[in-house]
């Protein structure tokens, strides 16, 4: 029996506030003017992408006790800019990263329900956690959450918002003028939730939105994170964009779904991916190297070094060899507000690997950093890139990709203009939207409305 051909899902990640984004290029535009976001979104929609994706951070990053100034800094408020993008698009999904620590379920649920109404059912939520006192300094409670509690709070936060979304069935607004009945149910929106993190009750004040609730994304990679996604998410924003690593992750996570009574198609695996397109593979490789050099300036190379070495290296020569001393083990005191430093828990072996590689390949500090901090996922001619993406999806290394261009806002153009048509010709990507909601685009069945509103009921965190 031949395996049915999978349809590819594609999304567009607005370039973020990290060094992947090249701001020094003359074609690089604004990261805050609305016109940049509108242009980017409209390009993605022209390309029939499933959705647009925005990251978020609630405090500006710092290094060595100072605001980090080498990467793009500054971004709009997620909900507000997504609502505005709903005005200049018609089908494109709108996915925002919203934090479960420095927010409250009632407000986040209101905002997502409103965004879903205002976009005709295109809202999605990438649920992230944080715990740190650093970010907390911008909020009323400060850093109030222990690190090991962050997943628990995220889970119960998400569960609570589900209860809020389900507190309206969707048929309560009857607006019967003659009879004088606006609401069929005087208790519409009633809810109560009590646990260690949230003790709230009352009435939710936004009627059920077109999708019922936003599509849920989760980005966990740890065992706990994968379980959280398997139990509660519609899609995973994953890190594994290569064949073997992708297949292993895919099989693992999809394999966990049955435990929660869910089918394999109910959770999409979507890795983040970067790309460089050239007329030929060789040209693309050259461009890719130039882009890497632009992404890792001499100053950036030193900053990356400091993140691993956990010490001030401002006097180090980026064109010289790596430092000879060992990194400082223990809590990272150099960098704040950056998730990536958690990956450097065991810095000494990593430093040794870097030194070995630099020596073997005769690489300066900057060249070494270019090598070890992330090559583009797809480098080649349009044909090569299209084939690679299709192969990965058909081989179950993913269900599609969330593409992250390195230039704002035009960096998506080459992909939409040159790669998408090839995928469409091959019949593995939509020629046009067939549905109106993001759930439609992602192939997720519409949610069944809850049987009665205000039902606190047993909660498993699983969308029905």
């Amino acid at each position: 029996m031949t395996k049915p051909i999978k349809q590819i899902h594609l999304a567009a990640h607005f370039p973020g506030v990290n060094n992947t984004t090249v701001w020094s290029d003359p074609t690089a535009g604004s990261h805050i003017e609305f016109s940049s976001f509108a242009q980017f979104a409209q390009t993605a929609e022209r390309g029939k992408f499933d959705f647009l994706f925005l990251a978020e951070g609630l405090r500006l990053r710092e290094q060595n006790g100072q605001i980090y100034d080498l990467d793009v800094v500054g971004r709009p408020d997620t909900f507000t800019v997504l609502a505005a993008l709903a005005a200049v698009t018609e089908r494109l999904g709108l996915t925002g990263t919203i934090n479960s620590t420095f927010n409250e379920p009632y407000e986040v649920a209101r905002q997502f329900a409103s965004l879903d109404h205002l976009s005709g059912g295109r809202a999605a939520w990438n649920v992230v956690t944080s715990w740190d006192a650093f970010t907390g300094e911008n909020f009323r409670r400060g850093g109030f959450l222990a690190e090991d509690q962050r997943y628990e709070r995220a889970k119960t936060f998400l569960q609570t918002t589900h209860e809020l979304f389900d507190s309206w069935r969707g048929d309560e607004v009857v607006a019967d003028k003659a009879a004088g009945v606006f609401l069929s149910d005087p208790n519409a929106g009633a809810f109560a939730h009590k646990d260690a993190h949230f003790d709230i009750h009352g009435r939710f004040n936004v009627p059920r939105s077109p999708q019922g609730r936003p599509v849920i994304f989760q980005a966990g990679d740890s065992d706990q994170g994968r379980d959280f996604a398997a139990s509660a998410a519609d899609a995973i924003f994953s890190r594994h964009s290569t064949l073997e690593a992708g297949q292993v992750f895919y099989a693992d996570v999809k394999g966990r779904l049955a435990r929660y009574g869910r089918h394999r198609d109910e959770l999409l695996i979507l890795p983040a991916a970067t790309f460089v397109i050239g007329d030929t593979d060789a040209e693309a490789a050259e461009i890719a190297h130039e882009v890497r050099l632009a992404q890792v300036s001499p100053q950036t190379a030193i900053k990356f070094l400091e993140q691993l070495w956990n010490r001030d290296l401002s006097d180090h020569d980026p064109d010289g060899p790596l430092p000879t001393m060992d990194p400082i083990v223990g809590e990272n005191t150099i960098s704040r507000g950056r998730a990536s430093v958690r990956m450097f828990r065991d810095p000494i072996p990593i430093a040794n690997q870097w030194r070995a590689k630099a020596e073997a390949e005769n690489l300066s500090t900057r060249e070494l950093i270019v090598e070890v901090t992330g090559r583009q996922s797809f480098i080649g001619s349009p044909r090569t890139v299209a084939a690679t993406i299709n192969d990965l999806v058909q081989a179950d290394a993913s269900d599609g990709f969330i593409l992250v261009p390195h230039i704002t806002p035009g960096g998506l153009d080459p992909f939409v203009e040159q790669v998408v048509p090839l995928l469409q010709e091959r019949g593995v990507f939509r020629a046009d939207y067939t549905g109106t909601t993001l759930r439609d685009h992602l192939g997720l069945a519409p949610l069944r409305a809850p049987r009665r509103s205000g039902a606190a009921g047993a909660s498993t965190g699983v969308a029905s």
């Binding site: 701001w23 020094s24 805050i32 609305f34 509108a38 951070g57 500006l60 605001i67 080498l70 990467d71 800094v73 500054g74 971004r75 709009p76 408020d77 909900f79 507000t80 800019v81 609502a83 505005a84 709903a86 005005a87 200049v88 927010n103 409250e104 009632y106 407000e107 209101r110 905002q111 329900a113 409103s114 965004l115 109404h117 205002l118 005709g120 300094e137 911008n138 909020f139 009323r140 607004v173 607006a175 003028k177 004088g180 606006f182 609401l183 005087p186 519409a188 929106g189 003790d199 709230i200 009750h201 009352g202 009435r203 939710f204 004040n205 936004v206 009627p207 939105s209 100053q299 950036t300």
Partner: protein, 411 residues
């Protein structure tokens, strides 16, 4: 210093013309409005409904719209929830309505409501800054306190005492309400500092040194207050207006102090011209006492308007709406029932008494809004009291407010 926009010729400049805002809420402010034949009662949660209302308001070059909001279900009772099914219940988030509509407009301002007793000032600051970006400089916010214990229970973060009509005049309760206003003043201070936390030219894109920003032009706001402390800087750069408009509704006492001490626009509810003049001078005195002698603080009169071609028709409509709602509707604002020309008479009188503008609450939508755009505005223009088109780029400038210098800039 920025000179307010002026045009040569007959059109009045912003110092003589009056300003007009319209307060949008559901199907209109009257509880029976949703039952009118032309009410779009089943469309209140659709973007198109709001787009059409704002488009109508913009067609008459109204200064701005406000959008009501709350963090609980509406209630006829000021202090407790009700469980009525014969009223509009449910609302979309006002900031998001504004953001959804703004990109397709070109001149009208947007002043959504934010509930400052519960939301984080850091979040509201970046939301309104972003609204300013997506509207290219036409954003503001109306800060609203919430004293309701049931709304507090939606958050579980603070317990507020149950209030009722009996206790509201109790001095201890008044003290508590004053505290909410004092917190609102701190909140506005945080909003303003966060809007200034990026200097205008912080983004430098200096390739030679590899720096995207000049970090010396970003500032920690280091706000420490009784209800919150906020470090900053904002994650969002300085908005196009520098400082979006801050508005507040007041009825006296601490709410007038809030307007005078912290806001750019106050909405007040006089019953006649004499009271209007009294309120204006009371707020002006409070403004001087707060050290804001040099600032412009607009005081707008709020009116609930029932408008029609004849006074009889307007009155009949009002009675019909009251019948539909089962109540003789009164609110904090004076009811005006009459023709657009009669309303123009009143506005002219109250404007002469010192109010620089008015926020009109349409009893029913779209009817009273169309009476405003098609009836009132042409009449005001005939009298030289209202502009014929948008002639400024930003809401601040249209209100005669200079773009403020950044408080942290040393240059």
């Amino acid at each position: 210093m920025v000179v307010p926009a002026r045009k040569a010729g007959l059109m009045p400049d912003s110092s003589t013309r009056l300003h007009l805002a319209v307060a949008l809420d559901g199907a209109g402010w009257h509880p029976g409005a949703w039952r009118e034949a032309d009410a779009r009662a089943s469309e209140l949660f659709n973007a198109d409904y709001w787009a059409d209302l704002v488009s109508e308001a913009e067609s008459a070059s109204l200064d701005f719209v406000t959008i009501e909001d709350s963090l609980g279900v509406q209630s006829d009772d000021h202090f407790e929830p009700d469980y009525r099914t014969d009223r509009v219940r449910g609302r979309l988030d006002a900031v998001l309505i504004a953001a959804r509509i703004a990109p397709r407009t070109r001149g009208i301002g947007f002043v959504p409501t934010a509930i400052v007793t519960h939301t984080e000032p850091f979040h509201v600051s970046k939301s309104i800054a972003t609204l300013d970006f997506v509207s290219t400089g036409r954003a503001g916010v109306r800060v609203q306190i919430s004293a309701r214990h049931d709304v507090a229970a939606h958050f579980g973060r603070r317990e507020l005492p149950r209030l009722s009509a009996d206790v509201i005049t109790d001095p201890l309760v008044q003290q508590q309400v004053n505290e909410y206003f004092a917190e609102a003043a701190d909140y506005i201070e945080v909003l303003r500092r966060l809007w200034d936390s990026w200097e205008d030219d912080a983004e430098i894109r200096d390739v030679a040194t590899g720096r995207f920003i000049d970090r010396d032009k970003l500032h920690y706001i280091d706000f420490e207050g009784r209800w919150f402390s906020v470090k900053g800087p904002s994650i969002t750069p300085r908005p196009p207006q520098g400082q979006p408009i801050v508005a507040a509704l007041g009825h006296g006492g601490a709410s007038y102090e809030l307007i005078a001490g912290s806001a750019d626009v106050g909405f007040v509810t006089p019953r006649d011209a004499t009271e209007a003049a009294k309120i204006v001078s009371e707020i002006a005195a409070l403004q001087r006492a707060a050290g804001r002698r040099r600032d412009t603080v607009h005081v707008f009169g709020d009116l609930l308007v029932f408008l029609d071609r004849t006074a009889e028709a307007a009155q009949a409509r009002r009675y019909r709406l009251d019948d539909l709602a089962g109540v003789e509707y009164r609110s904090d604002a004076k009811n005006f029932v009459g023709t657009p020309a009669q309303l123009a008479d009143l506005l002219q009188e109250w404007h002469a008494a010192g109010l620089s503008g008015f926020r009109l609450r349409p009893a029913a939508l779209p009817h009273d809004l169309v009476q405003i755009t098609n009836g009132l505005v042409p009449e005001l223009r005939r009298r030289g009291l209202f502009h014929t088109e948008y002639d400024t780029d930003t809401l601040r400038v249209s209100l005669g407010l200079a773009r403020p210098a950044n408080r942290y800039a040393t240059a």
